[in-house]
Symmetry: C2
DNA sequence: TTCGCAATTGCGAAAGTCCTAAAATAAGGT
DNA sequence: ACCTTATTTTAGGACTTTCGCAATTGCGAA
């Protein structure tokens, strides 16, 4: 079942493939935190944050604990944080390409905005 | 620029978030290989494979070398393979949940197929 | 040049992701 | 019971991803 395993890995990567979710996981690096704090620190819309939590929950990447009126999240396995760490090293090593990639993404975004603006 | 860094990480994860691309990278673990061999080993449609190569190239995850009529690909930085390794450990540790996740995905897929079959 | 193989590219349909805004749920306090 | 706060869910529309198929490019051989 090597292909099934790859499918599994792919779904985990998919769950990690969003800046907000990465930010959430990094915020949880120090341990469990309530939603309110995470939202405040990252300046997120509650609804939006909750959707990202749902994605992370669906893949069992985070654990949810309810205490009173607040909900606490934590990273289930530090291995996930290790993956994030390796990515940081990767970023540092490829600093140059990384930056050009980022610039490219930005450029594309402004282009897109221009396009939609023009076409409206 | 912590958010820019997260965006960068996210795009790399996005590139890894597909079973076929994971399979390609694992096939390249031993070093450079021509497209023809990769396609053969993984039983891929050439066009489809090429699209996945394009994704990996766009993120600078693989390097392309042309020799005669053949094209060779290789993984640019073994750090990427390390990420894959960690994911394998992650899979082993969470074997139980992983399997249920896989089953769930399968079930959804068969449901989808049933639905489309019924609705046609 | 012309043929044939290797690999890529372009295109349209189907499915998936993401965001915002509105509505729903849950728990506590008055 | 009612109101407020915390969090989640739903619904919609915009955008992106993926696939298969057809068309195209690049290169070596005849």
């Amino acid at each position: 079942m090597p292909d099934a395993l790859r499918k599994f890995k792919a779904t985990i990567f998919q769950a990690l493939a969003h800046p907000t979710r990465i930010a959430i996981l990094e915020t949880l690096r120090g341990g469990e935190l309530p939603v309110s704090i995470i939202i405040e620190r990252l300046m997120l819309e509650p609804a939006n944050a909750s959707q990202h939590f749902a994605v992370l929950r669906a893949k069992h990447i985070v654990t949810r604990r309810k205490a009173g009126s607040q909900v606490y999240y934590s990273v289930r396995d530090p291995l996930i944080l290790e993956v994030l760490d390796i990515m940081r090293r990767y970023f540092q090593v490829h600093l140059e390409e990384s930056l050009s990639l980022l610039k490219e993404a930005e450029r594309e975004e402004t282009e897109r905005i221009l396009m939609t603006t023009v076409c409206t």
